[in-house]
């Protein structure tokens, strides 16, 4: 018993006292990504993009004459493992900045550590809105948020006013707490938050499609749920009537009963938020049921993945989706990145890869500008970032409750003859959108 625990303790502690062989010249950058588990597909694309970018940076001489050493740790998509990874990267490997952050739960876990230590953390995929809202990390801020949710259910105006008063009071306290926190708040985000994913789709709907009714289907995840809620709000703004909002668990086998119900409700627009290949099954089953709404619109990765047309076949044709990035966008290096990735890894990449690739370049730029490698100096350098990447311009600004948030345009894409094309907004469009579509004819 004793001996065994001793041996184990030895192994356990070996890493702690093991002198780093390669500590001398390289600047270490830590990245956390899910490389096993359900999200591994996207983790893999991001890992390869990070590595590709780092190789290029090092080939061009690195950062201020020093090489960048990437330490990519697997989170398995679990928050406790993500936290282990971040703690290890910071206190053992002595990285100077953390990147990555994929699922919201692991991003929260990592954000907690980064916040405690005031450590710079550049999120490139985690999309939960409040990751860049300091008030969400203060007790009063959370209290106000919970009160506001209560407010939604309240009908009585007198009580409502009372609650609102209380919220105002709590928010004052929250402001004080945020002020105390803000020096340590070194969490930056490259990608837009989930509430802004469908921004340009909304304008497309308002100007082109003008639907009267909508059915919203979304996967049951933070991304799906909050995306659907945001879309509900925009529908109210646009005067679109919501006939139904339904969620499902990712990985469902058969969507026909759900879609049959949608068919009966007969909405103008079917809006779906689906991260995985559920997107493909939804489209295939809608084809099998001969659904014919005005428009099928998707959000998120499921509808823009290269695997989507492979699996859905002709059911994928003319589907419209909100998207964050496309290689044909006029950002310097976007097309080159896409081609290089294809050549190197012999597979397609999409917006997750571009996010990771851009994040690596932002990190390199920040390290170049930082006065020293202390967290504080890196944080200062991060907040002064103003550069162009393959993912678009990067500049961290504050608005609403958010700080350190990069604001980006989003796009509407459409599958036209098996190719994904940007069709909206007009200034970036590479192809003319095809609308209206007779889905039954289209899919024969």
């Amino acid at each position: 018993m004793k001996r065994l625990s001793r041996i184990l303790l030895l192994v356990f502690l070996l890493g702690a006292f093991c002198p780093s062989v390669f500590a001398a010249e390289a600047i270490k950058v830590g990245v956390i990504l899910p490389l096993t588990g359900k999200q591994a597909k996207f983790g893999e694309i991001e890992k390869q993009s990070f590595e590709m970018a780092a190789e290029e940076i090092n080939a061009k001489g690195g950062v201020n004459g020093k090489k960048v050493e990437l330490l990519i740790e697997d989170t398995q998509g679990k928050p406790d493992v993500a936290r282990s990874a971040v703690e290890k990267l910071i206190s053992q490997d002595k990285v100077v900045i953390i990147g990555g952050g994929y699922t919201s739960s692991e991003t929260y876990a990592a954000a907690g550590v980064a916040l405690n230590k005031g450590f710079p953390f550049l999120v490139n995929t985690g999309s939960a809105d409040n990751i860049t809202e300091p008030s969400a990390f203060t007790p009063s801020g959370q209290r106000a948020e919970a009160m506001r949710k209560k407010l939604d259910g309240e009908k009585d105006p007198a009580k409502k006013a009372e609650i609102e008063k209380e919220i105002a009071k709590i928010e004052q306290a929250a402001d004080m707490e945020v002020k105390a926190l803000i020096d340590r708040f070194a969490i930056f985000r490259l990608n837009p938050p989930v509430s802004e994913y469908a921004g340009s789709l909304e304008s497309f709907l308002a100007e082109v499609v003008k639907p009267k009714t909508v059915a919203i289907l979304h996967e049951n995840s933070l991304f799906g749920t909050s995306g659907a809620r945001e879309f509900e709000e925009s529908c109210k703004k646009l005067g679109i009537k919501i006939l139904m909002r339904e969620s499902y668990d990712a990985g469902a086998v058969d969507f026909k009963p759900l879609l049959a119900k949608v068919k009966q409700a007969d909405p103008d627009l079917v809006y779906m938020i689906s991260y995985l290949l559920d997107a493909s099954l939804l489209m295939r089953h809608s084809m099998e049921l001969k659904m014919n709404p005005k428009l099928f619109a998707g959000a998120a990765a499921g509808f823009t993945l290269p695997e989507f047309p492979q699996n859905a076949g002709k059911a994928s044709e003319k589907i419209i989706s909100a998207d964050l990035w496309h290689q044909s966008l006029p950002f310097p290096g976007a097309q080159e990145y896409y081609d290089k990735f294809r050549k190197k890894y012999n597979k397609d990449t999409e917006y997750h890869g571009a996010e990771a690739y851009a994040a690596m370049y932002v990190i390199a730029d920040v390290l170049k500008r930082a006065k020293s490698m202390s967290p504080k100096d890196i944080k200062d350098a991060l907040s002064k970032t103003d550069m162009m990447t393959v993912f678009g311009p990067v500049k961290f600004i504050s608005y609403d409750k958010k700080v350190n948030q990069n604001k980006l345009d989003t796009y509407v894409v459409q599958w036209i003859n098996g190719k994904l094309e940007i069709v909206w907004p007009k200034k970036s469009a590479k192809a003319k959108y095809i609308y209206p579509v007779d889905w039954i004819k289209e899919r024969q």
Binding site: S84, E87, K88
Partner: protein, 335 residues
């Protein structure tokens, strides 16, 4: 004599551990170990000692975690109250479940616990008004330093070990064991097996719920898929129990240490040692081999589970004599 002193030496070592090892990383891992000691010894009580194998510990764990989280968001209390109320709500879930399902035996009971796990996860996902669904609950961690969390976890781990020890020393312990060995015989002796199974489950659920509340406090964020995870909580609890040693006093403690340490060992490729050595060797083949090993870490962990169960079916503590024999023999041969 020496054997009796081991727990006290271990406790003393654990008490000074964070003062000696200042690294946040190792302190974090030890906090996880101590949390798993609580869950593992709770599982050991109901499964290892009473013979009612639970595949649904996450139901109690998640309930505890959600209680702590909801106390903050709904009532504005401190999440630390969850350590108390989390145990109580877990018991409230366990009581009706046990009352209904203790009629079932063996694989049936195991399946029922599995189902409880799944049902709780679905409820937490669907009942958005109460639990915020998949948006999860984010709370502010009370302390920036790891030390308070460490000592609180240590206290809970010690409390759960003592609780199990005291229970097993009392007459309840004998009833539990008799139920495990032969339920029919126990019943014919006049033992109200249903009643004692309930007692065992209630204690186990309370401890697991407390561990859940601890998780909420420490991690600061939960969502249904994290705390009601079948694979990451329920099955991990069984692994901790079985690897350490089913039905042994300190088995779960050893199991928790091994599981967390080994999982992390695999994940980081021997705490980064493998890749460092490979790079030092400078050989291309060794570097790619080391990348291969690091990439396949979950596979390696799975293989380890298979091998451990195959060769140490009674766990490290249960098969301790076997291990010492093996080690000693090798030494004799080597010498």
């Amino acid at each position: 004599m020496v054997k009796k002193a081991v727990p006290f030496i271990a406790l003393a070592a654990l008490l000074v551990f964070p003062l000696v090892v200042k690294s946040d990383y190792y302190q974090h891992l030890m906090i996880l170990v101590l949390m798993w000691v609580v869950i593992g010894s709770a599982w050991n009580l109901i499964a290892g000692y009473t013979g009612q194998v639970s595949f649904g510990d996450a139901a109690f764990f998640g309930t505890g975690a959600y209680t702590a989280g909801l106390l903050v968001t709904k009532l504005g209390w401190s999440a630390w109250w969850g350590l108390f109320f989390g145990g109580i709500t877990a018991v409230l879930i366990a009581m009706p479940f046990g009352w209904i399902c203790f009629r079932l035996r063996g694989a049936y009971f195991a399946l029922a616990t599995l189902a409880l796990n799944e049902i709780m996860r679905h409820i937490a996902t669907i009942w958005e008004k109460l639990t915020y669904g998949m948006l999860g609950i984010l709370i502010v961690q009370t302390f920036a330093s790891k030390l308070p969390y460490y000592y609180i976890s240590l206290a809970l781990a010690v409390i759960s070990l003592i609780t199990v020890r005291l229970v097993m020393r009392s007459k309840y312990g004998y009833y539990f064991l008799s139920i495990r060995e032969d339920q029919d015989a126990a019943e014919s002796m006049g033992i109200n097996t249903h009643h004692y199974k309930m007692i065992s489950l209630v204690i186990a659920a309370a401890l697991t719920g407390v561990a859940g509340a601890l998780y909420m406090n420490y991690m600061g964020f939960i969502d249904p898929h994290v705390v009601f995870s079948l694979h990451d909580i329920s099955i991990m609890a069984i692994l901790v129990g079985i690897v350490g040693g089913v039905g042994t006093q300190y088995g779960p403690a050893v199991g928790a240490f091994i599981m967390v340490a080994v999982q992390e060992l695999f994940r980081t490729g021997g705490y980064g040692l493998i890749s460092k050595l490979a790079k030092a060797s400078g050989s291309e083949t060794i570097i790619s081999l080391s990348e291969f090993i690091t990439k396949a870490h979950v596979m390696g962990f799975g293989i380890l589970v298979v091998v451990a169960i195959l060769f140490l079916p009674n766990g490290v503590v249960g098969d301790w004599n076997k291990i010492t024999r093996l080690v000693l023999q090798k030494k004799i041969k080597g010498g």
